[in-house]
Symmetry: C2
């Protein structure tokens, strides 16, 4: 008899798992339940949907329910929330959110890919009208409605992380007066301090009002609607609406209630094959704890790239493979107007916390031959182990080309390269594309001076 597989969650991790499992073992009877009204959407595209760079919700979607169900042979249901897992009976309880019907479905193997949910702090006004989050397509539609209607002109973004910064750009470009509130004394504090200043300067130059040292303590309301923000520094700023972008936590309630082990921030603990403590249950994506690829330590770094990879691995393994997930470096890139920000590996603080005798080194270099028109600076910070010279982390800001350079450093970190070895890399050069000494080489050469002994 065919094995029954249930997958909870129909975005990156869940659908990667479903598709991979079905490819490896077409006999599997796989069913996907997704709570929201959309599957397979690129959540990372939501800021650009809100800013109308991307027009329609369906533009964010790469696979339809019909494609999954008919073409891939994986029956997929939206507006179906799994409300409980009975590990002894090997069943899940499912609620059809459209009809209210509740039913039970048996499984031989289960995949939990429930993702993450935005943190909404427990402060006065947090539940008022006019408070938005941005995680699902529905969230995006709601926020886009208010941003693009042009009736409400002034918005607070609470939390100056990537999403906050990306939405700040898109809202500003849409004509909104944006106030970005960050609790910390600088933006993106895992970056080198000089980088935070550049990000701040860029946002300010483009008209974003950045409030630092400004944890939001209260959302002021009038008639149940947000009308302002009171920050920890005492400032009160009148706004028409507010976006909560403080961060996310793993959506691991189902797993917790089923007695599975949770780790950092409540993320589900899995082994390298993405299996939970229950041999019939795998978990993947933004709901699981992962391993830092450098330190081997447990971390929670929810990113779309990781979710896709883990989904594939979980799906392949439940179908009989034995692939392992190697861990994360936390490689990322984002843009703030014309400034690109990218990083991989450990920050200096993280490296020291992990026990390394670490140092950092910063250089700035044009991304084309100096004599070729249009060269733009890359500023690169390398974090290294002073004893061995091994690269532990890299951060870069500047032109779009920082992304490719951080990928080189990510590769180098993965291979355990020292900055001396990076300095010997044979990289490409042509005046319109890169200088003869690539910023990568200049960064490595400079960092070599920090190596002791």
């Amino acid at each position: 008899m065919a094995e029954k597989v249930v997958i909870i969650g129909g975005t990156a991790a869940g659908l990667s798992a479903a598709s991979k499992a079905k490819r490896v073992d077409p006999s599997l009877e796989i069913t996907v339940f997704e709570k929201s009204g959309y599957i397979s959407y690129g959540a990372c595209g939501l800021p650009y949907f809100v800013g109308d760079m991307i027009k329609e919700p369906n533009d964010l979607v790469s696979l339809s329910v019909d494609q999954m169900t008919r073409k891939r042979g994986v029956p997929t249901f939206i507006h179906h929330e799994v409300t409980g897992i009975d590990r002894a009976a090997k069943t899940v309880t499912v609620k059809n959110l459209d009809t209210g019907d509740v039913f039970t479905q048996g499984y031989d193997k289960l995949v939990i890919a429930t993702g993450a949910r935005p943190i909404v702090p427990d402060i006065p006004g947090a539940k008022a009208e006019g408070v938005y989050t941005l995680r699902t397509v529905e969230d995006g539609i709601r926020l886009k409605g208010v941003v693009q209607c042009h009736a409400q002109k002034k918005a607070a973004i609470i939390g100056g992380g990537f999403i906050g910064i990306e939405v700040a750009e898109e809202m500003t470009n849409s004509g909104v007066e944006v106030h970005l509130f960050e609790m910390m004394p600088r933006l993106l504090p895992f970056l080198d301090e000089s980088f935070s200043q550049t990000v701040l300067d860029t946002l300010t130059a483009h008209g974003v009002h950045v409030h630092l040292n400004a944890g939001v303590e209260e959302l002021l309301t009038k008639d149940g609607r947000v009308c302002g923000v009171r920050a920890s520094n005492g400032e009160e700023t009148p706004v028409d609406y507010a976006l909560m972008s403080i961060g996310v936590v793993p959506a691991s309630d189902l797993a917790r209630d089923a007695g599975l082990t949770l780790g950092i921030k409540g993320a589900i603990v899995v082994d390298d094959e993405m299996r939970t403590g229950d041999p019939c249950i795998w978990a993947c994506g933004d709901c699981v704890q992962m391993k830092n690829r450098i330190t081997g330590g447990a971390v929670y770094v929810p990113l779309g790239t990781t979710a896709n990879k883990q989904g594939r691995i979980a799906g392949g393994n439940l179908a009989g493979e034995h692939e392992t997930f190697k861990g994360v470096l936390g490689s990322m890139v984002t843009k703030a107007f014309d400034l690109y920000i990218s990083a991989t590996g450990l920050s200096l603080t993280q490296a020291k916390a992990a026990g390394y005798d670490a140092a950092s080194s910063v250089i700035t270099k044009g991304d084309r031959a100096s004599y070729y028109p249009g060269s733009r600076d890359n500023t690169i910070c390398l974090i290294l182990d002073k004893k061995t010279g091994r690269l532990l982390g890299a951060q870069a800001i500047g032109s779009e080309s920082v992304a490719g350079r951080i990928n080189v450093f990510a590769t180098a970190i993965t291979c355990g390269m020292t900055v001396g070895e990076i300095n010997e890399l044979d990289l490409v050069y042509a005046p319109p594309v890169a200088p003869v000494y690539d910023p990568i080489l200049i960064a490595a050469s400079q960092a070599m001076k920090k190596v002791e002994g």
Copy 2:
């Protein structure tokens, strides 16, 4: 008494050697002799100087004679040709090309950084007026004169390599009708065959007349001036002038006459510390033979990046260091109008010739999230060892971002990574910059299917 160092050649390799040696041992008395009228120029920028993207010859120059002489303490002489090396007496004979004076200069240590010179084939008309080469700044000034005067409208470029293609773009953009002659049946034949077609289509679409299977057998002349080209396929094409861009050979006559060992194509043989068979003589840059970093075999791949690195190493070593040059991958990038072309490592043909049971695999993938506006394709060809899955080479064409991706592959090749390991890299992602599955990962994933066993 201070040691005397003579450096023959004042561009990338020679000046890198001079500057590095002086930094390591300021007591050295270093003299640089450069035959041409310019030092420290970016030869790779010459096509863009010809096309007037770069206005003045001095824009190509990063260090002046005065800076070298006064600031760096390295007396540097232009228009000074070294005409002979007496290894027994440890002297060089120098001719001042401005005055005609000839003198002898002693050395304790000598660096040969004489570079390469353009191949001018021994065909009728090759020495006629209106035949150009493009290697020195003086060459560039001459060619720019005829290109930008707009009186002569039709030009032949003989040789469809990088320089030929780069100049074809610049001349076309300057209003010249360009006929590009390539002896081989396709352009850039070390690239995957489909890539050659894309390059051809791009050049043709931008108005370049590409003649394939068209080795030039004669330059037709009238009154001692070029007036046309006769190709091996019998075609005769009237032109007003012609650029020879067939390639370069090492400028190793001095070394040969001094009895030093020459290798491939007449390039000077050096050890890993850039020293020739004579313990007092180092050589570096486009005049030396190098080692392929993958196969360990001898190759001749003259590139500016290599010249700079080798110069530094030679300079450091003659001053007492013991650094080694690790070899080349032949990493390169160029552009043909809006098409970027980049490669590293072995081509499929080279890999097979080196004894690998090699295969290649080609994919095409957008360089941004599919839903984000402005995504452009990257087409990537990976060359791998079928037995081990080890990456041996990579080629990419498409948007400018191919350069960063080839640098990742160059790093991976250097570390001996397999395509399976590359597929597990944690790379950056954001909709405006890269898709969630980067083209690098898609290429690696596809190439994994070619791995046997």
